[in-house]
Amino acid sequence: MRVSLNEIQVMCRKAFEGMGFAPGDCEDAAELVGWLQLQGLDGVGALEKALLYLQAEAAQPYALSHEDDALLVIDAKGQSVLRCAATVVELAVAKAMRSGQAELRIHHCHNRLLLLGYLSRAAVQGLHVQARWEDARQCHLADFTAGIQRPALLSEARPAADTAEQGIRVLFSRHGQTATAPANPQSTLQQGFTVNEHTWQRLKQLAEHILVESTDASRRHGAGGGSDAD
């Protein structure tokens, strides 16, 4: 089915709220899915893969393992980057802005592709951003030119013998020129976005968790509707 960007963002925000995301994280995560979709990266599809983890995990704060002027190491305790990675990205960005370069390492996290939306904000602020992570088969690199929202993505096979680390390393650096980011093409918005109907229904079910069952009393008084007689 085809949906608008606003529908994606509103549906995701409600679904995240339904999954117990904190205020602020709901909006960030929903915006991120919308951003991926705008970049042609199938944010809704990526979210569907993440739902398995998101629904199973109990939210708990990330742990700050190490911090100095140029390095931030976080233990996400096996949670999705959607939970609260936006905050640690902001802190790493602030370090890079101040000292020219900073590295962020998030250990024990899932759904790493989804972090790219948060990193794009850093790139738009003028930072060169390189994110590296690996899965069982491949090593991945996402490279954001300063000023440009959309990264260059590169994946290559990794040695089968090594054990993949369930984390992500991101290098932020402030140097060189900043390119001018092209605005999101209106043609993309005007065409809408194709999403999987089954996924959409799953999101809808999650979003329903924030709704309160209607009762006769709430139907009569809750909205304070007046007479429709005239």
Binding site: S4, Q191, S214, R219, A223, G226
Partner: protein, 564 residues
């Protein structure tokens, strides 16, 4: 005499402007969206033409209007159908309406028309694409409709006092834009000079419904009695607006879009400050007196069964009389407008004060109306993760002192909770102590959130006096939304509505009125503390007036004389 330039008076303080009862006393102004929409139509000579009017004698069928502007063309497609009495409801939980309609960009071919025919009457249950800019529906005011039809069919003009009481034939019950149900995202309109201001496409669509309502009633009268029927007189056509019935849904919008609220309010306050800085000349004094007289008559002709609104109207009328007398004894010159507002602040209630503010904005259109083209804002939040936590504490205590003052240990302070009902997600208010669902409440208790955040922050500071905001949020991620919002809003003057929306004595209707006044609503007629009917476009030029000289002077419409 020294050649002095009068200083621009300071903007009114947020503590005054953002008080909920004052926001709930706003009136339409030249910055209201119906006014800026009308100016654009008139100044650019938009061309509105009927391209299909396939209605039967009872007014049921399809009507299509083509709109040509200097920048593009559009179509408004309207479906009118029989509505069984038991289905008649203004609430969002309704699933059938008298008319349903859309504003479409570009042309509408047969295939799309068939698609619209299937989906538009379903409203929220239909699916649309980005060619559709606005989706809406409306119900008839049965009383006015029947009386108007009967009078016109008999060759008589209807009694204008009926329109003074209820100023429309149709009232909309929702006007959807921005991507709802697959229609165009607001981003699609940002580079479109016809509709790049907030709610401008929606307001224009409502204006087209007004035009349709006039053509439809004339058509039905003609069908009822072809020999005797007459057309609705032009003065009554102009006095006809479009109604709107609004419930709690508008309240979350204002709380969830503080940057937009900041833009609207700061624009209005900036305009007011510009006006107050002008020396009063005799012509403008005469103009203000005429505006005051018309506004008094308009308020006098407003009818409501709501006791609070009725009493406020009476008070405003009495105060306007005193204000007019005071003004009559003043000399023109520098400082008069400021002294006038100061007089109102000292002697009158917020209703009279805000009505005066709206009227003052009418006096200097060359300064005020350009500001109406900048009512949009690109909403985004940026967390300042590096801000020392001590600084964040200061920010809360300095900028959100008002929120820290509420006593949330009192039961009445959290009496209400806001929630979305499973029934079409209708926003509702529940009583925390008596009704289920508080665990799913919407986050509209900004003051409570600020207090909770402040308390957690103080604890964190005790453990880590040198902590940054990010450290606090890594440990307490639940406060991220609150922190990011307050960091952003602390940079602005207005935006946060200074009220505890959970309190027992809170009146949600104030929030509705604030937003509706920015739309350009008049004739506020509350049906409860959570529900209000209003009128838009009453007094506005007709489609046939487009191309004629335009004075942009149609606010506070009064009942026409001698039309019967």
């Amino acid at each position: 005499m020294p050649n002095t330039v009068p200083a621009i008076p300071a903007l009114r303080p947020a503590s005054q402007v953002m008080d909920l009862a004052r926001l709930g006393s706003h009136f339409q102004s030249p910055l209201s969206f119906v006014r800026s929409s009308m100016r654009r139509m008139m100044q650019q000579h938009w061309h509105i033409q009927r391209s299909c009017f396939d209605l039967d004698g009872q007014g049921f069928g399809t009507a299509i209007y083509r709109i040509d502007t200097p920048h593009g063309h559009y179509h408004c497609v309207i479906f009118s159908a029989y509505l069984p009495p038991e289905k008649r409801s203004d609430r969002v939980i309704a699933d059938q309406w008298d008319v349903t309609f859309v504003l479409v960009k570009g042309d509408v071919d047969a295939e799309q028309l068939a698609d619209l025919q299937r989906n538009v009457p379903l409203q929220e249950a239909g699916r649309f694409d980005a060619r559709v800019l606005v989706l809406s529906r409306a119900n008839r005011s049965l009383r006015n409709f029947d009386r108007f039809l009967a009078a016109l069919a008999e060759g008589q003009q209807p009694d204008p006092s009926q329109l003074a009481e209820v100023g429309y034939l149709y009232r909309t019950t929702a006007v959807y834009g921005n991507g709802k149900f697959g229609i165009a995202d607001f981003g699609c309109l940002q580079d479109n000079p016809d509709f790049n201001q907030p709610f401008s496409a929606q307001m224009f669509t409502v204006y087209l419904l007004r035009h349709f309502s006039i053509e439809q009633i004339n058509h039905m009268a003609q069908a009822l009695d072809p020999q005797r029927a007459v057309q609705l007189a032009p003065a009554l056509q102009r006095y006809l607006g479009v109604g709107n019935a609004t419930g709690l849904g508008m309240a979350p919008f204002l709380i969830n879009h503080p940057q937009l609220v900041e833009r609207w309010i700061s624009t209005r306050e900036t305009a007011l400050a510009l006006v107050l800085a002008q020396p009063a000349d005799p012509d403008r004094l005469v103009r203000l007196q005429a505006l005051l007289a018309r506004a008094r008559l308009h308020v006098e002709q407003s009818r409501t069964e709501d006791q609070r609104q009725h009493e406020q109207n009476l008070q405003t009328l009495a105060e306007l009389a005193l204000l007019t007398t005071w003004l009559g004894a003043q000399a023109t010159g520098a400082g008069l407008w400021s002294r006038l507002l100061a007089w109102a602040e000292a002697q009158a209630g917020v209703g009279c004060q805000e009505l005066l503010a709206s009227l003052l904005l009418e006096l200097y259109p060359e300064q005020v109306t350009p500001l109406a083209e900048h009512m949009g804002v690109n909403e985004s939040w940026q967390l300042d993760a590096q801000m020392p936590l001590g600084q964040l504490r200061q920010l809360i205590e300095q900028q959100y002192g008002w929120a820290l003052e509420y006593d949330f240990s009192a039961v009445d302070a959290e009496h209400f909770f806001w929630y979305r009902s499973a029934e079409k997600e209708e926003p509702r208010l529940g009583m925390r102590a008596e009704e289920p669902g508080a665990e799913k409440e919407m986050q509209l208790g900004i003051a409570r959130n600020i207090q909770q955040c402040h308390a957690a922050l103080l604890k964190h500071l005790q453990l880590e006096p040198q902590a940054l905001t990010a450290h606090f949020l890594i440990a307490q991620p639940a406060f991220k939304g609150t922190v990011r919002r307050l960091q952003g809003m602390a940079q602005t003057t207005y935006g946060e509505i200074r009220a505890n929306l959970l309190a027992r004595d809170m009146l949600p209707i104030h929030l509705l009125r604030c937003k509706l006044a920015f739309f350009g609503a008049g004739k506020f007629d509350p049906k409860s503390s959570r529900w209000v009917r209003i009128t838009l476009f009453q007094g506005a030029p007709l489609v046939s007036d487009i191309g004629q000289p335009f004075a942009d002077d149609w606010n506070f419409a009064v009942r026409p004389q001698g039309e019967r």
